[in-house]
Symmetry: C2
Subunit: 392 residues, 2 copies
DNA sequence: GGACTTATGTTGTGTCTTACAACCTAATCT
DNA sequence: AGATTAGGTTGTAAGACACAACATAAGTCC
């Protein structure tokens, strides 16, 4: 089965008929239940505006399809308790996140909770074939334990991904070029696979369950050893561009006199703002899991923080001018810079931005920290199920 | 009546019912007919995938609503000729475009053709009140002549517009600040008014009827005496951002050592690439309606063209990294620069962009030249009618 | 314990929308 | 003139949701 992302069927007609209505309503219901990890029938009635009897019938269909269950609630509040529609935890998506030093794997259940997880540390960055093998092994193990129904897999890759067919065009830190990871994984697991950029996955998770909840226009900037990943969210979807490469904000121009970047240009945001230069200032390697403590506050570190904060602020100002987001979420070590230089950054962003844009802008640190990439990858994989719960 | 843009009704429910199906199908039909300026019933059947009999009923409703007529076609080809569904030319939108030296007004008919037009030259840039007055007078005159049914007005403003309520937050060249133009015009004309940035209007027109037809991801950059306006189109809609200020591409950073910009920063794209500096190189004022001829090709002009082309190329590379468009459309004097320095620009864009992004990028000159802003403004005004042809 | 509140289940009727099949109409080609 | 090709029209059917009526249930509040 081919990898796929939101692919409209070829020659899809514009016309809508009754079955589309039903599909749409089932999709709304299952999406609500998935996002909230359980919701009463009364809540569903209110949220959709549909009639009680209709909700009853639709929920019945979802139960029959093995996607949700109805549970008696632990009673609270006045009135007859409404049965809670619970997403079934044995309906899962595989989330895969290959990084330089490890491959993270998880099962994300309907209801968006992680129900199984594994992190495999590696002496060197993994090949695509190795990722496929590790993923297949993990799934085999998990299937033996419980009996989850794996409806798809989502892969978050630190690099350029052609989301359309899951081709990893370029992942510099993994040293991958034109790897058809989506197709290979789909073949090995025999489920649909969605591949996307790791920042896109992080954005999706933050936007649904983290610092970006309820915000319709947001930008996510994540700083890791692999550089700076960016993603742009607009009214619930991720800006992908013509080929799926939009939002590569690590490579916007930050300083024309800056250092040469591996992308071939100079002064990219990620050559000027990065962990390596912070480490250099700190005088040695940092413990990435305890970054704040290990960084310390020597004069050299403080100076470097200030320098990076200034460049970062200009970068934020630039993307703000282009996208007019309501919120900019900073993850990884960028969150740390925000913590330590928040006032400076905010002041400079205001100075470098057209006033009305800056007025309504919020800068905030990512909320989900550890899990957002995996949850986002799961979200990718669930998308087609949520769009059409009873299948096609 | 308040100005409005795509405003979802408050508390809108997720649920869909039969009436939504019908609204959707009517909307598809009228939109197809409007875009193509007439289409046979057979074409509509094929495009929507709906049944012949359904199309018949829906078209009947549109005829009854006074939106379209059915005409016998000039026969061509084998087989029974299919009646052509024609948009009615007396269903019109008012298009308004205030600029520094003139106010342009037009009636755009359903079918997207301009059916009446007026350009009022002014000794100085107009006030909002004057724009409202001129628009009201023009409409009154046109209503007397024929008897058009004015379903709305669209205003394209060279400045920052809060599309939500039609507030012109800032239009530097008109010297407007926080002018509630949308509300004032709506009150004067008693029709819904949509206000938007002029570049957004231009993008909409180019995207539907010009150089951007069929392209799902595109960027429009327009250069005029008022500076550089930018707009970003994604799958048929314009990126507006949280407040409607997205796509202000004239103010992305082009050269940190550049001149001071009126926006408070320095080295913005429009301080480095502009008509004034071309005029200075040419040694005197240019005839804007015959720009190419009047610019000439003195050594100073050639050098300045090369300089601006270099900066422009870097700007295009930057927005390409951010948005990953398939096409960048250059309008106004930017189109002229592309004509005269196309090879240089293309070479530099490729050099300054991540390779996979540049590979699929096309640079092209705007096609509609004169009319795109007015047609785009009309399109803004038609949007709510097209979304719900039989009203609410 | 009784009144009240909130909420569900079920059933039948009604409305709306599209699909489909059968039949009718129209223009062009050979 | 008849064949061909295409579209229009009409009546019936099926799917989807709304709504009203009635019965039921489980809790809170006093």
């Amino acid at each position: 089965m081919a990898s796929r992302v939101n692919r409209p069927r070829a020659g899809e007609a514009l016309g809508t008929r009754n079955e589309a209505t039903r599909r749409h309503n089932l999709s709304s219901l299952l999406t609500l239940v998935h996002r909230a990890d359980g919701l009463s029938r009364a809540d569903l009635t209110r949220a959709t505006g549909l009639n009680r009897s209709t909700i009853g019938a639709l929920v019945g269909d979802l139960v029959d399809a093995g996607l949700v269950t109805e549970e008696h609630p632990e009673t609270t509040g006045v009135g007859r308790p409404s049965p809670v529609v619970q997403p079934r935890r044995d309906v899962v998506a595989l989330a895969v996140y290959p990084d330089v030093d490890a491959v993270s794997l998880a099962l994300v259940a309907l209801g968006h909770r992680i129900v199984a997880r594994e992190r495999i540390e590696l002496p060197q960055s993994p090949s695509p074939a190795m990722v496929v093998e590790l993923a297949a092994d993990a799934v085999a193990g998990w299937v033996e334990e419980g009996s989850p129904r794996v409806v798809g897999a989502g892969v978050a890759v630190p690099g350029l991904v052609r989301a359309e067919d899951g081709l990893v065009v370029r992942a510099p830190h993994l040293e991958w070029n034109d790897e058809p990871l989506g197709e290979e994984l789909a073949e090995a697991l025999d489920v649909p696979v969605d591949v996307d950029n790791d920042a896109n996955a992080g954005l999706i998770a933050e936007s649904l369950y983290g610092a970006g909840q309820g915000v319709s226009h947001l930008i996510y900037l994540n700083g890791s050893t692999s550089g700076i990943g960016g993603a742009v969210g607009v009214t619930g979807s991720v800006l992908r561009g013509a080929d799926g490469f939009a939002g590569e904000l690590g490579h916007i121009l930050a300083d024309p006199d800056g250092l040469a970047c591996h992308c071939g240009r100079q002064g990219c945001l990620e050559t000027e703002v990065n962990l390596q230069r912070l480490e250099a200032a700190a005088g040695g390697p940092l413990d990435h899991s305890r970054l704040e403590e290990s960084l310390g506050s020597s004069a050299a570190v403080e100076d470097e923080l200030t320098r990076q904060a200034r460049v970062l602020a200009r970068g934020i100002a630039n993307v703000t001018s282009a996208f007019n987001p309501r919120t900019v979420i900073l993850g990884g070590f960028l969150g740390l810079i925000l913590d330590r230089r928040g006032d400076l950054i905010r002041e400079l962003v205001v100075r470098h931005t057209f006033a009305p844009l800056a007025d309504s802008l919020t800068l905030t640190r990512a909320a989900l920290v550890e899990d957002q990439v995996l949850i986002g990858a799961g979200e990718l994989a669930f998308r087609s199920l949520l769009a059409d719960p009873l299948g096609e």
